[in-house]
Symmetry: C2
Subunit: 501 residues, 2 copies
């Protein structure tokens, strides 16, 4: 049975190629999609074909692409491969796109995920020409049921001049009721409080709205999300998860956390999954989550009954887990809400709810400044994502990383971070496989002693301590954050020169 | 007539020396005071004397000191001079204290001003032993009328085991009605929305509360606030103010700002005063401010009728302006509210109201990372203050600095910032006397071209461009944020070695 039951909109059903003809060279295009879920599957490929044809004719063809967060090979991948992406925001993780950014071919604007929608509304990025949004179904009255993510779809539908909708039958029709799309945002000075008091509270509508007059094409698809394979946690991830969960127990003992903790947020990745798995086999009960992304580990926690409520903006599941979820979706109803990323990542909500935020990092310096985005200062990996939204406003924040990378050639604790995304003013707790450093209420030098002792790999610990000691000795009037500027980045230089820090 | 009309509390009036005897070695002490306003004038000196006596007897005496923000020689100065400060948070600007921090004698915790109260409540800094809070008067029922600042006084009074009150007759009794002390803060998961919709809206009480049983001493004083002299804006500050105000006009033209702008926030300093003075002589009408500190320039704007409402947490006036304000305080009633710094700097309020935030910086790198706190990476100047609270959550943020310092020996635009307090994800508009760089919606390399062209001093412009060009050439796979790590901090090294960047 067709998922498009609105007569006005069903008259606009067409092919991806025809839909793509509405996207022109130079357009700004806002597409749905967050962490490989809910992105359009067909139109981007057709746009990429248009671009390749144009290039073969010697004509220019490129667009600015705005999304929710990372997408997939069928979106970022094909468009980057076709050389069709001039600008891209706000988060990405596609290898082909990453190459295009690092070669200087695509300009990448790495904004906080909570800032992307409002800055688009503010007009900071220019006018949005076209929105391409994937949904699960179209109701008779034209309302849209989102699928596996909400992301920035609400904003792109609102502000774009033209709209293309993809209706993907792979998403269960039963997604109806899983979403909370907040239509109360305004521009200053008309903004009002978010009346959000707990993770599962509804403050919006279950549907996305679209002005039917703006819809230029509807494309039907049946294609799965990206659904990366789930990897079992390695020893290092398990060790970090143990450090995190032990610390949470310690905080309960100190009466700084309630028995059922506070709402959990965890970034995407194996450590996050390992923490969830650890909690799933723990004494904790009645946990909640207010996060960006629901991974396999969080569904496990729901299945065991330990996690009673999850707010997010997207799924990011393995193929097996996604198939299972789609089959048993009804059993998750009332326990999961997918919100717009303005709300899932909103400083107001995060601070009010008092989150426990767990995010990955690339490296930290000895004073607690954290690099989440760059390799050796120059090359972008993915982007800051929501880590800044969560870390700054959380009740507790953790940054986690293995203590070494590249088989020990790189230390994740360095004298001076080669890029800084989270400053010493924001980072609270650093965790590596070696241990955990609680930096709350400490001066920079006290932090350095803890980080070197608790987080650094033994192969690098003495050298870090030596750097710190010599920096203090060399700066009799600079002992707040002592550095040897000539050596500060030398570990990274050494890696560039010799493949070893 | 006495300002202390509560019989229970007036029985506790005593000398500063007697009051100071309640503060012991090792205590954590929370004192009022924000930007040289509303700090206790007598007890800190008496504590310093206790410390010196103890040290002369060969005994240890030191405390941990928490305040609102910077205080004055009679507080931070005397305690640092006496070697009595083991730890200090969250913002400071006293030269003697700064020396003590940079020599490694005092541990300094440089936290966001909006985080200080809540992190104290969370228990991140340990138990608060004593609060020492200056007020203007004590009512018969024991309620306290604050004076020229609110800062963290509410929190220190709430959480301290013992309380010492200073009642300072220098503050007009007519301060009653100027304050809004919010008693609705809770710990997660009990937090509720701030029902704050405009800068002048009351959400709290005009008074501070204190449990009389905790009060161990009341001291009467009559002594002025620090009241630094007002300096006329120099040419560089005027040029920056012109750039800022011209840009605001441009944003109105582009329909990205309403005619009466949005609530203004400005950091302390000459550029802030120059911007206010510029606005005072402009076409703007019906302006509002939601800021930390009210300086002379903002009172001028009220006097001209251009500024209709100011929310802050403190004054920071010249001696003449303070005397004038104290004399004419009634005429400012209903146009000024002093709030707790949790609320003046609250991310929720800042983002909702959509502020225009203007803050100083020490240096920015070519990609827009900003250093607000350190000289040459190691030595602290003052602290981050509220600049992070405001920049991250504002509608528009400006960071301002002269393009050179030390008669041209230092460029405020550098290849790589020697400390980073505000990251590329947060900074929007950089301003120097040379010009303004609007970085919104730009990739790092596009930002670099703008900053070098618009903000760098001509003496440094070509060298910055040369660094950028060579970094791009050297990083064929790192052209997102190209750096030459070996040279990145060489400008600072050169200044350290030769006194010239």
């Amino acid at each position: 049975m067709s998922r498009i039951t609105c007569p006005i909109l069903s008259s606009k059903i067409t092919s991806a190629e025809e839909a793509a003809s509405h996207i022109d060279d130079g357009d700004r295009v806002g597409m749905s999609g967050f962490t490989g879920a809910g992105y359009p599957k067909a139109v981007p490929g057709a746009v990429a074909e248009r671009a390749k044809d144009s290039h073969q004719r010697g004509e220019e063809f490129g667009v600015e692409l705005w999304t929710g967060a990372s997408t997939a090979p069928e979106l970022d991948g094909v468009l980057a491969e076709a050389g069709a992406l001039r600008k891209r925001l706000p988060f990405q993780s596609d290898p082909t796109l990453r190459k295009s950014i690092n070669s200087g071919s695509t300009e990448y604007i790495d904004t906080h995920l909570s800032h992307s929608a409002q800055q688009a509304w503010f007009g900071f990025y220019g006018n949005l020409d076209v929105a391409v949004v994937e949904v699960a179904a179209v109701l008779p009255n034209g309302l849209l049921i989102p699928g596996s993510s909400v992301g920035n779809s609400k904003t792109w539908l609102d502000i774009a001049d033209k709209v293309i909708i993809e209706v993907n039958q792979w998403h269960p029709r039963a997604y109806e009721g899983f979403h909370d799309v907040y239509y109360g945002t305004r521009l200053p000075p008309e903004r009002r409080p978010l009346q959000l008091l707990d993770p599962l509270q509804r403050i919006g509508d279950p549907y996305l709205r679209v002005d039917p007059k703006k819809v230029v094409a509807i494309v039907e698809t049946e294609a799965p999300d990206r659904n990366l394979p789930f990897k079992d946690a390695d020893e290092s991830s398990k060790a970090m998860a143990d450090h995190v969960v032990d610390f949470l127990r310690h905080e309960i003992d100190q009466e700084r956390l309630p028995e059922n903790l506070l709402p959990l947020q965890s970034g995407v990745g194996n450590v996050a999954n390992a923490v969830m798995s650890n909690l799933a086999h723990s004494e904790f009960e009645n946990l909640t989550a207010y996060t960006e992304v629901i991974q396999d580990g969080m569904l496990d926690l729901i299945d065991t009954g330990k996690l009673t409520a999850v707010s997010a903006t997207s799924f990011s599941l393995s193929a097996e887990r996604a198939a299972d979820f789609n089959e048993n979706i009804e059993s998750y109803k009332g326990r999961i809400l997918l919100r717009t990323q303005e709300i899932s990542n909103h400083p107001e909500a995060i601070r009010r709810l008092g989150l426990i935020a767990i995010n990955g990092m690339v490296e930290a310096d000895i004073y607690g400044n954290v690099n989440s985005t760059h390799v050796m200062g120059s090359s972008i990996i993915n982007g800051i994502g929501g880590s800044g939204d969560f870390a700054r406003n959380a009740y507790l924040n953790f940054f986690v990383s293995p203590s070494v990378a590249k088989e020990g050639a790189i230390s994740s604790i360095v004298p001076f971070a080669s890029h800084i995304d989270h400053t010493e003013h924001d980072t609270q707790i650093l965790v590596t496989d070696q241990g955990l450093a609680d930096l709350r209420g400490l001066s920079p030098t006290a932090r350095a002693r803890k980080i070197i002792h608790s987080c650094a790999h033994p192969d690098y610990r003495d050298r870090l301590q030596d750097y710190f000691d010599r920096a203090a000795a060399a700066n009799p009037n600079g002992r707040h954050t002592p550095h040897l500027l000539r050596e500060a980045l030398s570990w990274h230089e050494s890696f560039q020169d010799n493949g070893q820090m």
